[in-house]
């Protein structure tokens, strides 16, 4: 009886030392940091005279997905804390300490970490531009949240604001576009935001051939929504715009890698796409000659006399539809009659042979 009590006691010690103590240790460590950083209003003056708030609320930490991570795990360059605090030149946290593929600490396994290395933001940083965003810029630092904690709509709105911090002019153009008004005014979570066209961790320069908005790739990106029957049906717009573009002279040339022909954005605009009914739209009846004129210097009103995005199989195309139909039947009839001509001739020759 006494022996088993000792066994239990030893086991308890092991549990405390190896099981609970790391948790306790991290708590103690965090508590140590929070002596200063837990005070609301705790701040310092930066070199350029700005006030930098350094307060980290306990509850923020505990509700983030990093609640079990202690301060040292990320701020690994702080090795010594004295009564006066720690060294001043604290480095930016490197998320890649844990967030890499096949990591042992249980950070999510995704290719995004490596994808980001090739993105325009990281590439520019490697060239020495320190204004480019790093993980924390978009995801937040202490207040980082899981994606699932936000609704689709909240997330999309937040994304535009995140990108807009730096790309302010684009944010303002976007917010007045048909996509922006759908998001902000109609609270429509189908509306595309920055990342739907540009990608998230894979964002590349628009003149990088691998970019989703590269000249010859753009129509596919727009097609993610505009060729989707589900989405286009929801808003009563046609789903054949991409297909008809592909069959047009512009579309065929793009598919053969021509970079000087018009793609979706050449006519419809980029971030400031507006509906045709809007007088400021590039494809409004009053502006269309000017829009064609961007490439075709000779464009005049004759350019506007006709349909664009013609589907020869749709009755809406008028004369084109009827002419295509006439030709279709003419071709079928000619083909049938000539096939009969060939078959009859072959039969006759065959008979002729058997007689002799």
């Amino acid at each position: 009886m006494r022996k088993s009590f000792i066994n239990i006691a030893i086991l308890m010690v092991f549990v405390i030392v190896f099981g609970i103590s790391p948790v306790l240790y991290s708590q103690i460590q965090n508590q140590k940091c929070l002596i200063c950083h837990g005070k609301p209003g705790f701040s310092t003056k930066t070199e350029d005279g700005h006030l930098k708030f350094l307060y980290v609320s306990d509850s923020t930490l505990n509700t983030s997905p990093h609640s079990t991570v202690n301060c040292y795990d990320c701020h690994s360059d702080i090795v010594e804390i004295t009564a006066l605090g720690h060294k001043k030149d604290v480095k930016k946290v490197q998320c890649t300490r844990c967030h890499f593929e096949n990591n042992p600490v249980g950070a999510p396994e995704t290719e995004k970490y490596t994808e980001f290395q090739e993105s325009v933001h990281q590439q520019e940083r490697l060239k020495g531009n320190l204004n480019t965003p790093i993980c924390q810029t978009c995801h937040g630092s202490h207040d980082i949240k899981k994606r699932s904690s936000l609704s689709e709509l909240e997330m999309k709105k937040k994304i535009t604001q995140m990108c807009g911090q730096c790309h302010l002019d684009i944010y303002s153009a976007y917010s007045h576009s048909i996509h922006g008004t759908a998001l902000f005014e109609q609270n429509n979570s189908d509306a595309p935001v920055c990342t739907n066209c540009h990608g998230e961790h894979t964002i590349r320069k628009k003149d990088d051939p691998k970019s989703s908005v590269y000249k010859t790739a753009l129509y596919n990106t727009c097609g993610d929504c505009h060729a989707s029957e589900v989405i286009t049906e929801r808003y009563g717009i046609s789903s054949d715009k991409i297909e008809t573009y592909e069959e047009s002279y512009h579309g065929i040339a793009v598919q053969f890698g021509e970079k000087t022909v018009a793609n979706c954005a050449s006519c419809h605009g980029i971030h400031d796409i507006r509906p045709q009914s809007d007088p400021r739209s590039t494809i409004h009846a009053n502006n269309i000659v000017k829009t064609c004129g961007n490439c075709h210097q000779d464009a005049n009103v004759n350019y506007t006399k006709g349909l664009i995005h013609i589907n020869p199989h749709s009755e809406e195309s008028g004369p084109i539809y009827y002419i295509s139909s006439i030709f279709k039947w003419l071709t079928i009839i000619t083909l049938t009659m000539l096939a009969i001509h060939v078959i009859l001739d072959l039969i006759k020759r065959l008979k002729h042979k058997t007689i002799h």
Partner: protein, 233 residues
Amino acid sequence: MKTQEEYVIRFNLSERIQHVILFVSLIMLLITGLSLTYYDSWLGRMMIEIEGGLQGRGRLHNLFAFILIALCVYHAFYITFSDKGHKEISHLKFRKKDFKKLIPGLKFSMGLNTNKPSSGRYNISQKFQYWGVVLGCAVMIVTGLILLLKVWGIAMIVPKWLWDITGVVHSNEGILIFIVLFLWHIYDVHLSPKIFPMNKVWLTGKISKQELQSEHPEEYEEIYGKEFVSDKQ
């Protein structure tokens, strides 16, 4: 069996050369044109690559188009002002008796009638083929020239709808011409077991007396008189 065959000159050198230029330009136009019509098939893509990409394909197509146009202009002068050409075109005109032979001819093709309707220098099928080429070339040249306005940078002189219709007509007519030429003319003069591998008249210009008698009995009569026909029967 084979004796020294008597023959008649059917086509002179000028006509034979015209024919060669016609079919070379038509074949090249069909290849370069249909590769654009079927740009989304592997064959179309492959052909466009061979033709030097989209721009190379366009230039090649235009080159042969101008060869064809030049030929058509020459041919128009030929049939109007030369004696031989003028004679040929009067032989190619549709006559009332051609249409009377239409039904017996169809019956013969279907094997319902054993007597082949007699024909002159050109039978009705050949007349249709000639005028089909004339009509086809006319449509293709007119629509093709409208499409060329673009290349010349003066597309603004026509409204966009005319341009669109022109494009549809040009590509569909091209497919139709391809079908007619290959299933009708090429079959009749090359692939039909009767004359495979080919009827050499386009090269030599000569037609044997025997063939003339069986294929163009009325012309045979004009040359050799009637008694030979009755002799044969």
